[in-house]
């Protein structure tokens, strides 16, 4: 029942039992605790407001707004008879009212406490936080792409449809597959699409009742087994090996007439290229099953290897990772799925077709001789992301996309080689792909955990790397610099991690276990947050006047 994580939970941060810990100075003051003003980096120069120059404290909207005022003037409605059958609101709505500048400042200040790819290096492994080129944004805002409605007559959106068709052609070419379903809205949605195509193909062969097992390696993204289970497959894990690779003989042992598919990520979540992928594909096909590839890490191999050549039957492509469309709260994802000839007939509607020189959308299953398994979305997918992704592809060209893959891999290996003497690599000193995985062996006996280390990175002004994933490695630290970073940027990052690592080994525990010290909020008490979550804001008790 235990996985091999090893993530500490009880934070050893100072003052976690203090109810004001983790609050900003001003918020703490509102709770009547003036003492926290004396802590923190500016402790020797406390300010009246609690702000520290550009580092502004921002209370909750409910704390700065007032229910009796509003920034918008509405005329009181005349008397009317509600027709909500007694379900109408009886009391005041209780929402805070703010003027426009107050509301504006609130959100701008919150955004200044945030960290994004536009703020600095974002080494979150498996997430591919690469630069979102401004050119892509400009293209996406062209009115012919941004001001169209999905129900507009197709004769008025020929340009948008041509763009979708062109994007699809690029994706099919880059992967050497037969067709593409553009509509899925994110990676996991794409997985679902691909697995539904596999299920449809199996049912079409009359094996729907007997082929119901999906093999998923231990190192897979959690969405893989979840997707398979969601549509009624039984999940069987392929055990992890000490070298980080999935072995064809382990797969063969599990194969049989009941196996519908394998879901394999390549390059895998350990940052390694699955070196037996072609043999695995052959074994899967020989057993009458299908090969689903999780394409989350396709960014490492674009222009270098084509999944279709490796025997893949279905793969989703995270446009928001591989082709630089914004994500992580910055924009919707998009997860088109490419399909092999074996699965192409089952691709869902809608899709773009070219008929008599005009692009049209095939919307209904009975309009085609093929066997679409159905429909994944109401309309046609994330148009804005299609534009950004194609803008990335066209501005890079095939040579540029290939170089982006190579630079992403080079950057990850530069970090790996620059840290190899201090950090521990779980699978030995061998080259990685676009991301480098370390474990916590090197932190043994320091009293510092992966979590502590990540928190100290926040103080240094970096977003932490992915931690405790993949689960097959103890205390994992997964770093993906992407191709966006310059050598100078990587060198500073490496020097920072080296400084932190040496501090940890020297026994400077305080720098870690209490971190972050400089962030707008201190460390969260994860246990308390989970055991007694506060899900609703309640007005604080009135502050006693005598507190001063």
């Amino acid at each position: 029942m235990l996985n091999r994580q090893g993530r500490p939970s009880a934070p050893q941060a100072h003052g976690v039992s203090d109810p004001a810990a983790g609050m900003g100075d001003q918020a703490a003051r509102m709770q009547g605790d003036a003492n926290t003003l004396s802590t923190g980096s500016a402790g020797s120069h406390p300010t009246f407001t609690g702000n520290k120059a550009l580092a502004q404290i921002e209370p909750l909207l409910f704390e700065i707004g007032h229910t009796d005022v509003t920034g918008v003037d509405f005329d009181e409605p005349e008397n009317f008879k509600p027709r909500l059958g007694g379900l109408e609101r009886k009391d005041e709505i209780g929402l805070p009212g703010l003027s426009e500048p107050e509301a504006m400042r609130h959100y701008v200040r919150l955004s200044q406490m945030n960290y994004g790819i536009d703020t600095g290096l974002f080494p979150l492994g498996s997430c591919t936080m690469k630069h979102n080129a401004r050119l892509n944004e400009r293209m996406a805002r062209l009115p012919g792409f941004s001001d169209v409605h999905p129900l507009q007559p197709v004769s008025t959106v020929q340009g948008a449809l041509e763009l979708m068709n062109e994007l699809g052609r690029y994706l099919v070419t880059l992967t050497n597959m037969t067709t593409v379903a553009l509509s899925p809205k994110a990676g996991a949605h794409g997985e679902l699409c691909g697995m539904m195509a596999i299920k449809a193909a199996i049912e079409a062969k009359g094996e729907g009742k007997t082929r119901n097992v999906v093999l998923v390696p231990d190192s897979a993204h959690g969405t893989n087994p979840a997707t398979a289970a969601l549509i009624g497959f039984v999940v069987k894990p392929v055990p992890a090996r000490d070298d980080g690779w999935v072995h064809v003989e382990d797969v063969k042992k599990l194969l049989g007439p009941d196996v519908a598919a394998i879901m394999l990520t390549n390059p895998n979540t350990c940052g390694l290229f699955e070196n037996q992928v072609a043999e695995i594909a052959k074994a899967i096909h020989d057993a009458g099953a299908y090969f689903y590839c999780d394409g989350a890490n396709f960014n490492a191999i674009v222009g270098k290897a084509k999944p279709g050549d490796l025997g893949v039957d279905a793969m989703h492509i995270n446009l928001h990772k591989t082709f630089s469309t914004p994500h992580g709260g910055g924009g919707p994802g998009a997860g088109p799925v490419v399909l092999s000839a074996r699965l192409a007939p089952f691709a869902p509607v809608p899709f773009v077709t070219l008929k008599d020189g005009e692009f049209t959308l095939l919307e209904h299953e009975d309009e085609t001789a093929e066997k679409p398994f159905g429909r994944m979305t109401a309309f046609h997918g994330q148009m804005g992301m299609y534009v950004r992704a194609l803008a990335y592809m066209l501005s890079h060209g095939s040579d540029g996309m290939k170089q982006a893959s190579e630079d992403a891999v080079l950057n990850a290996n530069y970090i790996r080689a620059s840290l190899a003497d201090l950090f521990s690599q779980p699978f030995g000193d061998k080259p990685c792909m676009h991301e480098v995985l370390f474990d916590d062996t090197w932190l043994k006996d320091t009293g510092v955990t992966t979590l502590d280390f990540a928190k100290a990175m926040i103080d240094e002004g970096y977003h932490p790397m992915t931690m405790y994933f993949p689960l097959v490695v103890h205390g994992a630290m997964l770093i993906e610099p992407t191709e966006s970073e310059s050598k100078a940027s990587l060198d500073l990052f490496i020097a920072t991690l080296r400084d932190l690592a040496m501090a940890a080994k020297k026994g400077d525990k305080d720098r870690f276990t209490g971190a972050p010290y400089h962030a707008p909020r201190r460390r969260l008490d994860e246990t308390r947050a989970a055991r007694s979550p506060v899900l609703k804001w309640t007005p604080p008790a009135p502050i006693a006047e005598a507190a001063e």
Binding site: M1, L2, N3, G6, P8, S9, A10, E526, T527, R531
Partner: protein, 123 residues
């Protein structure tokens, strides 16, 4: 009174024809602070190795497998309100469920205290 162990870090303490099932001290330490426990309904029959309960800590959700086959006759519903008991007293107040053992010979196949301690040392 015998206590036996699994390689998945469950223990079963035999009391007559039933056994109390919980997770070991090693398991709770690895899991970290337990924040939620999902218990089976009383009367559920489980086969050896079936999922019998779910334990969720701040870092992961894990299944508790039935160490032996049998029928769930009692569950520790105190854990719903105070899951921290799994960390504080895994062998005592932190027990999960009680199984009426259908096949006592399955118990013999489990690890003894010594064997389990050896196994933990090897991890």
């Amino acid at each position: 009174m015998t206590t036996r162990y699994t390689k998945d870090h469950e223990y079963i303490r035999i009391e007559g024809d039933a056994g109390i099932v919980g997770i070991t001290d090693y398991a709770q330490a690895q899991l970290g602070d337990v924040v939620f426990v999902e218990l089976p309904s009383i009367g559920k029959t489980v086969n050896k190795g079936d999922e019998a309960a779910v334990v969720e800590s701040v870092k992961a959700a894990s299944e508790i497998y039935a160490p032996v086959s049998g029928e769930v006759v009692e569950v520790n519903s105190d854990l719903e309100a105070s899951p921290g008991a799994v960390n504080e007293d895994p062998a005592g107040r932190g027990w999960f469920l009680k199984i009426r053992v259908t096949n006592p010979s399955e118990i013999e196949g489990l690890l003894t205290e010594e064997q389990y301690q050896e196994f933990v040392k090897s991890l």
